[in-house]
Symmetry: C2
């Protein structure tokens, strides 16, 4: 099965397009996991236990694992999520040349999909694209303020750069394993990209802490592919789910803390399902 078949089955099974971002910021981890050998892994395991029934995928951001213990925590997390039947999309935003790109692509031995940065062009992504069973989400239009600096630049041909990136991704999609990252803070842009690539699933960040538009994320973020049983795409929330317990729980009350994460994932699932 390729990644989008796996993802479609998962979406179908849990009736959810929620991607849960696993960004275990060490400064925000609750005391309950602080004494563990690998606090990030201990935290992620409890988050997965609390949220997996509502999770279409887990999306660890590589930035939170860039140290010796971090990569151990990441591998444990990925293996545990797989054990729960949930695909793992590593938000790494990688992209490099030649033998270096091939080396980065080996990360895919441990996860089901990855985000990549298109600035270095096709050959920088080819080692990822060649892994036909893995998903490759290229950054297209990101939800941060600076996303406009390059991505919105108007090309001589008339369209903004991010629309050209979408069109290029379509060309690069020989294996049917390409997705795009398109932010929910810009619903018009979501719609514009969807028109260019009707069958490419989007990963839509920015619906949680960043406050994006859930309706547009679902309406335009999910792709109908004739070979798949359900429309496929992902709407991500990270801090809005994993740190939901910060306000509601007392120090040491682990059950309430992680229960809040499960509740937040369930609420987002329901909110998104209103538009599916």
């Amino acid at each position: 099965m390729d990644f989008f078949e796996t993802l479609a089955d998962r979406i179908d099974a849990v009736d959810s397009v929620v991607s849960v971002g696993l960004d275990p910021d060490p400064s925000r981890l609750p005391d309950a996991v602080g004494d563990a050998d690998l606090p990030r892994w201990a935290f992620n395991r409890r988050i997965i236990d609390a949220t997996h029934e509502h999770a279409a995928c887990y999306k660890p951001n590589a930035a939170f694992y860039e140290d010796p213990d971090g990569w151990r925590a990441l591998r444990e997390t990925a293996a545990y999520a797989e054990g729960k039947g949930v695909p793992v999309l590593l938000d790494a935003k990688r992209g490099d040349i030649g033998n270096t790109a091939r080396r980065y692509a080996e990360i895919l031995d441990h996860v089901d999909a990855i985000t990549v940065n298109p600035y270095l062009g096709r050959d920088s992504l080819q080692p990822f694209l060649d892994r036909a069973d893995k998903g490759v989400f290229a950054l297209c239009r990101t939800s941060n303020p600076g996303g406009a600096d390059l991505q919105d630049l108007e090309l001589a041909s008339g369209e903004p750069l991010y629309e050209r990136v979408a069109a290029l991704a379509d060309v690069w999609n020989a294996n049917g394993n390409v997705g795009l990252v398109v932010g929910a803070t810009t619903p018009d842009e979501l719609e514009a990209v969807r028109e260019i690539v009707p069958e490419i699933p989007f990963l839509v960040p920015g619906v949680g802490a960043q406050g994006g538009d859930a309706e547009a994320a679902v309406e335009h973020g999910l792709a109908s592919r004739p070979d798949l049983p359900v429309d496929v795409g992902l709407v991500n929330s990270s801090r809005g789910i994993i740190f939901a317990g910060e306000e509601s729980s007392r120090p040491g009350d682990e059950a309430t803390y992680f229960g809040a994460a499960g509740d937040a994932a369930k609420r987002l699932k329901k909110r998104l399902n209103r538009y599916r």
Copy 2:
């Protein structure tokens, strides 16, 4: 001292603008280091011993360290290079948003400079730029074939995207710590970028294994800054130096193997110095 002052002093001290790329591909490491606890660190240490007298900086590419032992090897390598008085530029090509970008920027606690990807715009780079004592090299025009896919796109304003990136980098350079990555496989492009940003140092890859133009790399890659004692910039070679011993040495002959790396670094230094 900020990064470019440190780099200028180093260039002056060893009369070299050579950046030695530390890309310890596990499949190419000699038997002599294969049994070490951390083979990549054992390899890098011997490479540093053999080449440091000719090295303006070391440039490990993060792709070769993306696993638990890898990050240990990277930290040992960086500390050892610092001990030899050689700055370390981590070729990570990172770029992400908000709290994730801040997290990535913590890598700068362990190295002197980093390469970043500009596709996500200014706020994605701000946590790096804010580290005024560290160097931040933004990808501008890369030397791989796919570099043209996005970077050469003509904007409505008439210039190619990579020239706009150079102009933006100049705006983002409030702390004077910005550099640009501009490939040597395209001498005309090196010259065009230099005209836009007269005082920004370049990191020029592609002179070694990729066969770029050494003269253009030196002529346009080095920047004259009135506050620095010498023109500053870096010309990188990775495999052309670190694996130079593969042909000339017999299995087990460690002295010849690593001696060849030292000779290769010295040769590149002299070749580049003809144009300085």
